[in-house]
């Protein structure tokens, strides 16, 4: 092993089986207060509906076993609290702890979405302030906070476009999507009832404007663009792109996943974007929690406002806030109960902590990405040379010559104490290494990352086998994904235990 590894790279952690394997009848982890009403007879009242025994196979363990079980499991994870995740387009920034505190306050966590609106003014004020802040940041006219994640935001945006075009007489047939786009974009377009037409990127990885001019017809409803692109490069001709689309009555949708390069510096609304979503779990610091929850608010120009999902937050004459459930042109609801409110609370707490200074977070994010780019240029191939914003994309072309690919390098990075960067995306860069440090990384952390990447490049040249067999220091080695897909085992069953839970 390379003696130059500076970060702690091996967790001290323990083995732990499945919670079901610790179960034994009669153990309890939770007790309820005694019943203070007469016990009703379920068997009589429910008849055949009655589930006489408890849920079969449900674990029976004690409180300490539950606590230890999940604590031990947690030590097997990497996390932002432990170190950098240089994942491109994920914006893995610090999740401020005060956000967790305020989301749990009595009077915030406890509110029921159907309680009288006069008893919910606090919640509604939070929603209203968040709306205002996000509109200010995006430069748009109206917003919906309902979508539960970016993908749902994308769908909402496309449904708004569809409803708007439908109202004019023709919803149109297709949506243009760059070949560099995130997978949710084409998947969403299909759900919105559109055909997908791919548009190739030009030699700098940007949207090919001349190609676009040829493709935009009156059959095209919209172009879905990510800005900065998934290469981390600003789409300089975005205003021109908007004009081309508008001239043919089409709209411009912006995937806001990369807002961490723009917040406080420029506004998509000023650039000609008609509708966009935000990822609160990216740009606005709400925690990823192992995969979610998130929130995907959609900001839009005035023309799309009538089609917003209901209910709509309105301000009444007396200053009271209300949620109005009826709007004749609304696309309807995309989700029950209005929003991932708890996530919105966290995002607002983040915005209030920064205030107008949110610009500085953007600046630091771009400094970090460019600092890393500067030090790794020449060490890894840089396929597109335009200036990077908050993320930089390299390729494994140099290392490939020795049989080492981006996945191998990513796995070896784990031994150096980092989570891998995004591998194999965007699709237009074969063997991509997509790196986004975010503003939350100190100079020291950036230097450690650079040193690690340089060391791995050297290993790829001189001892490729050690890279190809990585990771070496993790709890488990590379896992058999082929077996898992051929014969999926997706749940525990109380059969004979596998003999492989060895230490």
């Amino acid at each position: 092993m390379n003696g130059k590894i500076k970060k702690a790279s091996r967790h001290v952690n323990q083995n732990e089986g499945l919670i079901f394997e610790k179960s034994s009848p009669g153990k309890r982890a939770f007790e309820l207060p005694p019943l203070d009403v007469p016990a009703a007879e379920p068997a009589k009242a429910l008849g055949a509906h009655h589930r006489k025994e408890g849920v079969e196979g449900f674990p029976e363990v004690s409180e300490i076993e539950v606590l230890r079980h999940f604590t031990r499991l947690s030590t097997w994870n990497h996390a932002i609290d432990l170190g950098m995740y240089p994942l491109g387009s994920c914006t893995m920034k610090y999740n401020p702890r005060v956000n967790e505190f305020v989301a749990r306050l009595e009077g915030i966590a406890t509110e029921h979405p159907y309680q009288p609106q006069e008893l919910s003014q606090g919640c509604l004020k939070i929603l209203r302030l968040l709306e205002k802040c996000l509109l200010e940041i995006t430069g748009m006219d109206a917003i919906t906070l309902q979508p539960a994640a970016g993908a749902q935001g994308e769908l909402t945006g496309l449904l708004l476009i569809r409803a708007y075009l439908q109202k004019q007489g023709n919803p149109r047939k297709k949506v243009l999507i760059p070949d560099s786009a995130h997978g949710t974009n084409p998947a969403t377009a299909v759900i919105a009832g559109y055909d997908v037409e791919n548009i190739k990127s030009e030699s700098h990885g940007q949207v090919d404007v001349e190609g676009l001019r040829r493709l935009v017809t009156e059959d095209v409803a919209a172009l879905m663009i990510t800005n900065p692109s998934t290469l981390g490069i600003f789409e300089q001709r975005l205003p021109e792109i908007a004009e081309i689309l508008h001239a043919k009555g089409a709209l411009l949708y912006m995937d806001g996943a990369n807002m961490n390069a723009l917040a406080g510096i420029t506004r998509p609304g000023d650039l000609g974007v008609d509708v966009m979503h935000l990822n609160l779990h990216k740009t606005f610091s709400t925690p990823h929690g192992g995969g979610g929850p998130g929130a995907g608010p959609v900001a839009m120009r005035k023309i799309l406002e009538p089609f917003r999902p209901v209910p709509i937050l309105v301000e009444k004459e007396n200053g009271r806030l209300a949620l109005e459930p009826i709007r004749p042109d609304s696309i309807g609801r995309v989700k029950a109960f209005s929003s991932n409110f708890g996530v919105l609370v966290r995002a607002l707490a983040y915005i209030l902590a920064y205030g107008p200074g949110v610009r500085q977070a953007t600046e630091d994010a771009v400094i970090n990405a460019n600092y890393i780019r500067k030090h790794l240029e020449g060490v890894y191939e840089l396929p597109y040379s335009l200036p990077s914003m908050h993320e930089v994309v390299f390729s494994d072309a140099i290392q490939k010559k020795n049989g080492v690919n981006t996945m191998d390098i990513a796995k070896r990075l784990i031994d150096y104490g980092f989570h891998p960067y995004t591998t194999a995306f965007p699709l237009i860069v074969p063997g991509a290494l997509m790196i986004e440090p975010t503003e939350s990384e100190s100079r020291e952390e950036c230097d450690l990352f650079i040193d690690a990447m340089k060391a791995i490049a050297e290993e790829a040249a001189t001892q490729p086998e050690i890279v190809k067999a990585a990771p070496h220091t993790t709890r488990v080695r590379r896992l058999d994904e082929v077996g898992a897909a051929r014969k999926p085992v997706l749940r525990w069953k109380p059969a004979a235990p596998r003999s492989t839970a060895a230490d």
Partner: protein, 448 residues
Amino acid sequence: MRYLPKSPVERQEMLAAIGKKSIDELFSSIPEKYRLREALKIPGPYSEAEVIQYFKERAAENAAGYTSFLGAGVYNHLRSVVTDTIIQRGEFLTSYTPYQAEISQGTLQAIFEFQTLMCQLTGQDVANASMYDGSTATMEAVLMAERLTGRRRVLVARSVHPEYREVLKTYAKNSGLRIEEIPFTKSGTVDVNALKSALKDDVAAVAAQSPNFFGAIETYAPLAEAAHSVGAMFVVAIAEGVSLGLLRPPAEGDIVAMEAQSFGLPPSYGGPFAGVIAAREKYVRQMPGRLAGQTTDSEGHRGFVLTLATREQHIRREKATSNICTNQALCALAATVHLTLLGKEGLREMAEQNFSKAQFALAELLKIPGVRRTFDAPFFNEFTVELPRSVKIVNSHLVREKIVGPLALGTPYPELTKHALVCVTEMTPRTEIERFAGAVKRALEQPV
């Protein structure tokens, strides 16, 4: 700023290393006229104490200290503090989607356990790692049935949660699905005869909820039989998961869409919650959402990975089973911790308490002159009553006594004006149930 780990000196040094003289130069690719020269007009910056102060002020403007009799898809249940202790651990809270399995085994094993618990609860073979919530899970289940049968008509019970049905309509509009509603009988459950009349071999799915929006428990067998007789799938939505501690699971269902909010997630003004889809094993490749699978590593140790990813958007793109990427992972983890704490006996006891308290509450309300039961179907922890005057007016009196009254049904169900949906859980003390009944009686006695 406390979240930014750079000193001014470090910023300058890093800029110099990049070869730029100012931060402005880093943004040179943005045309000058689009670069903001003024500060954003948003409040702040707030210190930590000021952030807390802001939200405490908002919290004081809500319904803290009121006793609520609302359910309707969002339920107040006991939660152990151990759940937050676990999900607040940085390794769970601030970790990423477990695509890099070697350093995400904690998350992956927990998902595997979640999937197992969901199968055990619902009586199905496989379950996914979560959808956004019960409403979108129901919608995805219906779309799944459409893919599996190749048919375009869906029959949905009108006793399914109104907002679940609204979500279904929004998504169906663009996929060419035809949604038709099946009425309920005066017992409060699905009208099986009406269902049978509507069924033809062009139906992809029959969708019902149990306990349904009125709290009434549906009988699965005749609904499943009717659906299967024309080759349609039977989709069951479950909004109140605690009911499965006392009620038989929908084993006759082909796909179950469940809301997991009742398992340790606070109401939080409507979210974040967690939906889950559970189904027969043979449908797994048409199931949306992430799946954690058990496997071994190169040294033979048990481990877990995300699997069958070819269904998902990042590989299948336009042909994906769903566009879902971010799910409700941390909420599903909270549900997993909560359910393992409750365990077999705890869940059963909790369910029994809900049942007993609801029976007690109904009995107390029926003592009030003019109050009648709407439906006679058996129920779990929610039931509907008819009041002799407007529910909204009664509720406005209750608010003055610091009680949040039951949901008025007149808006989603115009024929049920003056009917109210009452929910009682293990968290509602007897004294409060009695106080509630007393307050309703007093409200009804008020002059009009």
